[in-house]
């Protein structure tokens, strides 16, 4: 399998007054093309920090990080912007849709800057919200908003989809719908999905689970037979 992301001893440190907070330290791993990875850990374990560095939203303080052959650890902001623009899609816990744009326009916002995007209408259909195209975020339910956010991330046709607690604000049924969409995206298009959660149950749908604790990657678990999202309960 082709290695998409390679990390060697990466760390992220923040200076808080005289104290140095080590949000992430000494993490080494590889993530492959077409893989579904879940990063699991309690609050403050460094999940989001890891996701942000992988997504080029933040730089590492230490170690080496590569996307294919591109070094991300010493990339300037211009290079990181290009990386996010062409290779990464993000889904956030609180959707972060632009309130003044409709569902369709929110997805277009992302499609407009991509080099090889999917059709916006097609994406809307895929997430089952074609009839909501002209609705503003305030007129959509949480689940619908998250599906739009997912469509917005996927429409760019990125190599990697990064999801930060995408079901954190959703009820169970809606969460399963969203997980199904993510799984489909991964399986049908051969793209990599990295999802962070503190919900152990969700880890069962992944091919591999990274366990984080106190900023350290403590374990990587491989599942030979991941469960379909519909089989998961919590």
């Amino acid at each position: 399998m082709e290695t998409l992301i390679k990390a060697r001893n990466i760390g992220k440190y923040y200076q808080m007054g005289e104290v140095t907070v080590k949000a992430l330290q000494g993490a080494s791993f590889e993530i492959y093309r077409g893989e579904f990875v879940v990063i699991l850990g309690p609050s403050g374990s460094g999940k989001s920090t890891l996701l942000n560095t992988i997504g080029g939203m933040d730089t590492v303080s230490d170690g080496e990080l590569y996307y294919l052959n591109t070094a991300l650890h010493n990339a300037d902001s211009h290079k990181l912007t290009n990386y996010r623009r062409n290779n990464v899609g993000f889904v956030f816990q609180f959707y972060n849709l632009i309130p003044s744009l409709t569902a369709y326009e929110n997805i277009s916002l992302s499609a407009e800057i991509a080099s090889n995007p999917y059709s916006v209408a097609e994406m809307l259909e895929k997430v089952g919200l074609s009839d909501r195209a002209t609705h503003f975020p305030a007129q959509l339910s949480g689940g619908e908003q998250q599906r739009i956010a997912l469509a917005r991330a996927v429409v760019k046709n990125p190599d990697i989809l990064l999801c930060d607690e995408p079901t954190g604000a959703l009820d169970f049924d809606t969460s399963i719908q969203v997980l199904r969409l993510l799984k489909d995206f991964c399986e049908n298009s051969g793209k990599t999905v990295i999802l962070i959660t503190h919900n152990n149950a969700i880890a069962k749908i992944a091919e591999r689970t990274f366990y984080l604790k106190d900023g350290k990657l403590v374990n990587i678990e491989t599942h030979d037979n991941p469960l379909p999202p519909e089989k998961v309960t919590w």
Binding site: N52, M57, D58, Y83, R85, L97, L101, S110, I113, A114
Partner: protein, 788 residues
Amino acid sequence: MLWRKMLRDLKDNRGSYIACIIVMVIGLMVFTTFSMVMDNLNLSKDTFYFNQNFADGFADIQAMPYSKIEDLRNIEGIREIQGRLIKDVRVLIPGREDNIYLRLVSTDPKIDKPVNGVALERGISLDEEKMNIWIDNNFFAANGLELNDEIQIIAEGKKRSLSIVGVGSSPEFVYAMRTTSDLFPKPEEFGIAYMPYKVMEGLFQERATVNNIVFTLKADGQYKNIEDLLKPELESYGLLTMYPRKDQASNIILSTELEQLKNMGTSLPLLFLSVASVILYIMLKRMIENQRGQIGVMKALGYTNREIIAHYMSYALVIGLAGGLLGGVLGVALARPFTNMYQMYFNMPDLSSGFSPAAIIEGVLLGLVFALFAGYRGCRKVLTLQPAEAMRPNAPIAGKAVLLEKIEFFWNMLTVQGKMAVRNMFRHKGRSAFIIVGIMFAFALLGSCWSMWELSEQMLFDQYEKVEVYDVKISLNRPVDQDSVERELKSFPGVKRLESKAEIPATLKYKWNKKDVVILGLPADSELHRISDDDGNRLFTTPYGIMLSNRLAQLLGAEVGSSIIFESMMAKDPDFRYELEVTAIVPQYMGVNAYMDLEYLQSVLNQGEIVTTLMLSMDQEKVTDLRTEYHNSVGISGIEDRNKMLMQLKELMATYSATIYIMLLIGIIVGFAIIYNSSVITVSERSRELASMMVLGMTSKEVLSVVTFEQWFLSIFGMLAGIPLTKLLLVALAQSLSNDVYSMPSSFGSMTLIVGFVITVASIWIAQRAAASKIKALHIADVLKAGE
């Protein structure tokens, strides 16, 4: 997509953006109007001066042979020189009781392109053998005259009839006033008529003489050099005054007006555009803070910094474009009535206002420069925002105790809302400073507007209600013996008091400064021309020395005790030169004069007891009799009725009031825009906090009080700071508006402060009512539910 986002964001906050655009529109409108009017005036002035060969130098003499002009033509540096006769005559129009004058100016129809030539609007050439005239277009129109009409004048005591054969104007009389005390042209009472020299010399028995000389310079000629060569030549013919074009009465007024237009056209737009820029800057900065999550998303999606900055700059672009276009178009539209208004005062043939795309483009560009600069300053924070950091809510502003908390007495007096407001002011120092500065400007604008109004009234009415308190003033054609003229008038029925006055043209010199002025010789105990000091205490002329008006003292650089040199052509000795001590400096708003004791002045001049003016206090009903009796006297050049003068002044002031109301309205708009925007920003930024207070059970009124308390508190400081700024503005205005006709005072009274205060408070209150509706519209549940 980002354009749509921008348009919707603008729509959601339209109140604030509209307020910002209005302030910008006002600034650009003033800019466009003033620069267009200035261009129109400058263009027609330059064209008119050039086409009509406007003189570079002027000289008034008592009488010089016409043939002498030929000799003067040889003076090095002079291109053309011409001699003329100029005489003021009274016009008799049936049914009109007021004094109507024509200034007759001789012209030589044989000269092809004379100096100060007349631009003939219509009519035919002057006939050297006939009593025919060209007349100035304003007088012609104001008195409903027609070509070939005959008008009656009194020349040398005889009634004469002149035939109007042409209508035109001359660069010499663009702003035609009979005397400098007239203040503004009155075309129905005073006009210019041009008549052939030959006819005119016969009319006045001035055989082959001239009393006025005009000349133009060669390209390399210097006025100063010519003056030095020409003066000795003219002195033997009784040179009265000699001055360059820049000191010519009509040109002074026109140039001063252009200078004022330039000053106002620069400073006012700058003020408004600065206010608009600050509003825009704060609004964009606030939006960037509010939308940091959205910026984070855009960055996460891969939008570059440049794209995001461009997006936020597009808000400024739209504001700048809208403000610029609207301001430019309104400015162009306003330029026409303004130019027409100037046409009423400045008589130039080509003065008109066209459509000027260049002016609109200039306005738009200026609007864009200010808006984009403010926009960039407001949104450059986007550049430093890291995407991961942007996704997190802003860290709350450090909540430490503020300085005022140490004043326990004050702090304990405050309600919880008050305490919140005070802490908030200190935490948002930039915004607090904006409110203070904005209110300071609004207050100063209102205060100085009002003060200008009061001062203009004071200037005009003080002169005719406190200083010159005669009922009738009779001006004489030439100096006459005091005793004989007083004897003649004293016995006239209804005359209660009679005082003589000598108005003597003079040159005053102090160190390297010199100024041509009229010295007023007043009786020591004058009751009809009362001079006072700054505090209103009466001052009396002393039997020695000279008193100077404050502007004259300033121009000469003289003070009490200075020894100044007094020269006058009216003295017996042709080389007269006298040293005088300055005994007092007196406030004088109208004209620039010096004052001496009449007897002392007469003795210094050594021409006997001469006077030039008579001031009478008399029964009002007898004024008409006096006028009838002396109307046609040869020796009298004018009879002025003070009551009529006052009435005219009141009419003039009434026309100014519209301008004052507009300025007051602008002040209100600025105050409103500032407070409204600061309220809206506060409400949107602190919606969670305000909604939480409503959840606790506070009414929207109580919640509003947190915002309003803050604004009132800051506004008080703004208004206090506005007092010295008002003074500063008035000093600057006084300096730029003062000239030889008026000396603008810069003091202001309590009424200015009251007006400034009341109107500022009113505009703040109105803005707060508008902002209150935003608080009422807060949907508590939605606000609190919204994610961080």
